[in-house]
C-alpha cells in the first residue's frame, strides 16, 4: 500500500497558484464568432450532400523486395511497375455516374494539419499534402481524380478564421489555390456534380455583425483559372445540396423575416421555389438542416422542428421526409427506442436502400448509429459502439460499410461499421473528424 507523497498532497494548491491569472479577455470575440456560427456547420459534411464518384482504381503498391540491390531485379521491377501504370491508366477511362453506388476507394483524412489518404482494406497510407500549413476538410471530386480542401490563413488574429480553398490531384501533384483571396467565415463548400466547380457559401460582408448575415453562393472554378460565378445571395443561406440525378437544381436553406425556410433553385440561380415555408426562428438552427436527397432525386430527408403538443413550445428535431417538389412532408420514422429523443443527421446509402441517422436516447447512452430501410419499414437497427457524444458518418460508396467518427475533440481512429449490426473495426490510422470516401468506377 502506498500513501500520497508530500508532492501529491500539495500539488493541487501549487497548480492553483501557478495558473493564477486574470479572467480571459477573449470571450467577447469568441461569442461574436459563435453568435454567427450554426451548430453543426453543414460544410463539414459535404459528403452528405454530394456522393462522390471516381474513374480510378486503387493502385496496387508493390512491396520493396529484399533483393532490391540486384540490378537485374531492379530492371525487372521497373518494367513491372511501368506495365502496372499502363494498366491502371487504361482503367482510368471509366467514368461512373456522379450519383448512386460505386466502388470503394481511398479515405482521405487529416492528421496534425496534413492531408493523407488511407486504404481501408490494406491499412496502408500515404501523404497527400504536407508542409507547415494547417489543412483540413479533404473532399474527393465526383470523378475521384482530385481532392479539394481548405487551408488556414495564418496570422489572422481574432474573428472568423479566413481560409483558402485548394485542389490537388489524388497523387498529390498539381496543387492549385482556387480562391483569389482568403474567404472569411466559410459556411459551406461542396463539389458540383460535374466536378468543374466548387460551390461555396460565405457572408457577403463579414464586418456586418448584425443578425442574420447575408450569405452568397458562388461557383469557384476548380482549376482556379476562371473568375467566380455568383449564383445567389440570401439571409442565412447555408446548407446547399445538388439534386440527383443531373445536378440541375440546388436545394438550400435560408432565412425570411428571421425564420428558416427551405428553397430550391435552378443551378443557374433562377426559378427559386419554396419547399418549406419559413416559420421557425433561428434559435432552432438545426431545423431544416441535415439535408440529403435520395439517390434518384425523388425525396428529401431533413431535420425538422416540431411544435409542442403540450403547450411547451416544441423543439428540434425529428427526422422528416418530403417529395422533391415539397409535397407530402411527414415524419420519416419514430425510433421506438428513443420516443422523445433528438433525431436527424440522415445519410442515405448510395444504393438508396437504407437510411443511417442519429437517434439520441436522452436518458442513457445511445447504442450506436440507427439504421432503417429507406421506405421506413422494418425495425431500427443499431450498429457500432456506444455513442457518448455527437458522431459523424457517411456510407461507403458500395453501401457495405459506414465510416463513423465520434466528434469529441482530438484525434482518433474512425470506425468501419456493419450496417446490418455486426461487428465493427477501426481504420488503421488516426485522424481528425473530417470524413470522406473516394468513389471508384463500379
Amino acid at each position: 500500500m502506498t500513501t500520497p507523497s508530500r508532492l501529491e498532497r500539495n500539488l493541487a494548491g501549487i497548480l492553483d497558484d501557478l495558473s493564477a491569472g486574470p479572467t480571459p479577455g477573449y470571450l467577447d470575440d469568441l461569442f461574436l464568432r459563435t453568435g454567427r456560427m450554426r451548430q453543426r456547420p453543414a460544410w463539414t459534411f459535404p459528403e452528405r450532400w454530394l456522393p462522390m464518384s471516381d474513374i480510378t482504381r486503387p493502385r496496387a503498391y508493390a512491396f520493396a523486395p529484399p533483393w532490391r540491390t540486384i540490378a537485374v531485379a531492379l530492371v525487372v521491377l521497373a518494367l513491372l511497375v511501368g506495365a502496372a501504370f499502363v494498366y491502371v491508366g487504361s482503367r482510368q477511362q471509366r467514368v461512373p455516374a456522379p450519383f448512386g453506388p460505386a466502388g470503394n476507394g481511398l479515405i482521405p483524412y487529416v492528421s496534425a494539419g496534413d492531408l493523407f489518404v488511407g486504404d481501408p482494406v490494406t491499412g496502408s497510407t500515404r501523404l497527400l499534402v504536407g508542409g507547415p500549413e494547417d489543412d483540413a476538410a479533404p473532399s474527393f471530386s465526383p470523378d475521384g481524380t482530385r481532392v479539394a480542401f481548405i487551408r488556414d490563413v495564418p496570422g489572422a488574429g481574432a474573428g472568423p478564421r479566413p481560409v483558402d480553398l485548394y485542389v490537388v490531384r489524388q497523387d498529390g501533384s498539381d496543387l492549385r489555390r482556387i480562391t483569389s483571396a482568403p474567404i472569411q467565415d466559410l459556411v459551406a463548400a461542396t463539389w458540383t456534380p460535374d466536378g468543374r466547380h466548387l460551390a461555396v457559401v460565405h457572408p457577403a460582408d463579414i464586418t456586418n455583425t448584425g443578425s442574420p448575415p447575408t450569405n452568397q453562393l458562388y461557383l469557384l472554378d476548380a482549376t482556379g483559372s476562371q473568375p467566380p460565378i455568383r449564383l445567389a445571395a440570401a439571409a442565412g443561406l447555408d446548407s446547399i445540396v445538388f439534386r440527383p440525378t443531373d445536378g440541375g437544381e440546388i436545394l438550400f436553406r435560408a432565412l425570411v423575416a428571421g425564420q428558416y425556410g427551405l428553397f430550391v433553385m435552378n443551378v443557374d440561380g433562377t426559378n427559386v421555389r419554396t419547399l418549406r415555408e419559413p416559420n421557425v426562428p433561428t434559435h432552432f438552427d438545426q431545423h431544416l438542416d441535415g439535408l440529403t436527397y435520395s439517390p434518384d432525386g425523388a425525396r428529401i430527408f431533413y431535420q425538422s422542428y416540431v411544435s409542442g403538443t403540450d403547450g411547451t413550445g416544441g423543439g428540434c428535431c425529428q427526422l422528416w421526409v418530403m417529395n422533391a417538389d415539397g409535397t407530402d412532408q411527414h415524419q420519416f420514422v419514430q425510433d421506438p427506442a428513443a420516443p422523445n429523443g433528438w433525431q436527424g443527421e440522415p445519410a442515405i446509402s448510395p444504393d438508396g436502400k437504407w437510411i443511417a441517422f442519429d437517434s439520441l436516447i436522452n436518458d442513457g447512452p445511445t447504442p450506436g448509429v440507427a439504421i432503417v430501410r429507406a421506405d421506413g419499414t422494418g425495425p431500427v437497427i443499431r450498429t457500432g459502439p456506444e455513442l457518448t457524444s455527437v458522431a459523424h458518418w457517411l456510407w461507403s460508396p458500395d453501401s457495405s460499410k459506414i465510416l463513423m467518427m465520434p466528434s469529441e475533440g482530438g484525434n482518433g481512429s474512425a470506425y468501419l461499421l456493419d450496417p446490418a449490426g455486426g461487428p465493427w473495426t477501426n481504420v488503421a490510422w488516426t485522424s481528425d473528424i473530417d470524413l470522406d470516401w473516394q468513389r471508384l468506377a463500379p
Partner: protein
C-alpha cells in the same frame, strides 16, 4: 437557472445560455490550458477552439449533467492537438531519462513554486494533462481515462511516471540550488 437547464437551452441553439455557461467555465479552462501548454497564447487558442467546438457539437451531448466533464475533454484534447501541431515546427528539447533515482518524497522543497513550475515544464503535454485533470480539476482517475480515451491502467502508469519525473525534477532543482533549508530526500 441551473446548469442542466442552461445546457438544455444551449443545445437548442440558445446563444445567451451558451454565453452564460462559458462565462462560468472559461477561467477554469484557461488556467488548465495554460498549465498543460505552458504558453498563454497557445492556451487561448486551445480554449477558443474547444469552446467553438462545444457550441457546434453541443446538441450531441446526451447528459447535461456531464457538461463540465465534456468541456474538460474538449479543452484537453484541443491542447494536445495544438501541442502536436507545434511540435512539427520547433526543435524539441530532449527530456532527461525517466529512470532516475528513486525519490520517495521531497518535503520542504514544495514551497518553491518555481521548482514545481520547472518540473511541470519538463513533462510532455500528455503527462501534464493527466496531472492537471487529476490534481487541478480534481477528476477521479476513471474520469481522466474517459477524458483522454485511454484505459485506466494506462492513466495510472502515466501518472506514476509523470509524478516520478516531477519528483526527480524537484529533487534535482532542490539539490542544485540548495535554497531551501531542510530540502532533503526523505
Amino acid at each position: 437557472m441551473d446548469q442542466p437547464g442552461l445546457v438544455e437551452r444551449a443545445r437548442r441553439g440558445d446563444h445567451d445560455a451558451f454565453t452564460e455557461l462559458v462565462r462560468g467555465a472559461a477561467t477554469r479552462l484557461d488556467r488548465a490550458a495554460r498549465l498543460i501548454l505552458r504558453d498563454p497564447e497557445l492556451a487561448r487558442d486551445a480554449v477558443q477552439e474547444a469552446l467553438i467546438r462545444a457550441w457546434r457539437d453541443l446538441p450531441g451531448l446526451r447528459d447535461p449533467e456531464r457538461f463540465d466533464a465534456w468541456l474538460h475533454r474538449l479543452t484537453v484534447n484541443a491542447c494536445l492537438d495544438l501541442a502536436r501541431r507545434r511540435r512539427r515546427r520547433v526543435i524539441e528539447v530532449e527530456l532527461d531519462p525517466i529512470d532516475g533515482p528513486a525519490v520517495s518524497d521531497v518535503s520542504g522543497v514544495l514551497a518553491d513554486r518555481e521548482v514545481v513550475d520547472a518540473a511541470m515544464r519538463r513533462l510532455d503535454e500528455r503527462g501534464r494533462a493527466i496531472i492537471v485533470l487529476h490534481y487541478f480539476l480534481g477528476m477521479p482517475l476513471t474520469d481522466v481515462a474517459a477524458t483522454l480515451g485511454i484505459p485506466i491502467g494506462t492513466v495510472k502508469s502515466r501518472l506514476h511516471r509523470a509524478l516520478g519525473e516531477m519528483r526527480v525534477s524537484v529533487e534535482t532543482g532542490s539539490s542544485s540550488t540548495s535554497r531551501i533549508p531542510g530540502g532533503q530526500v526523505a
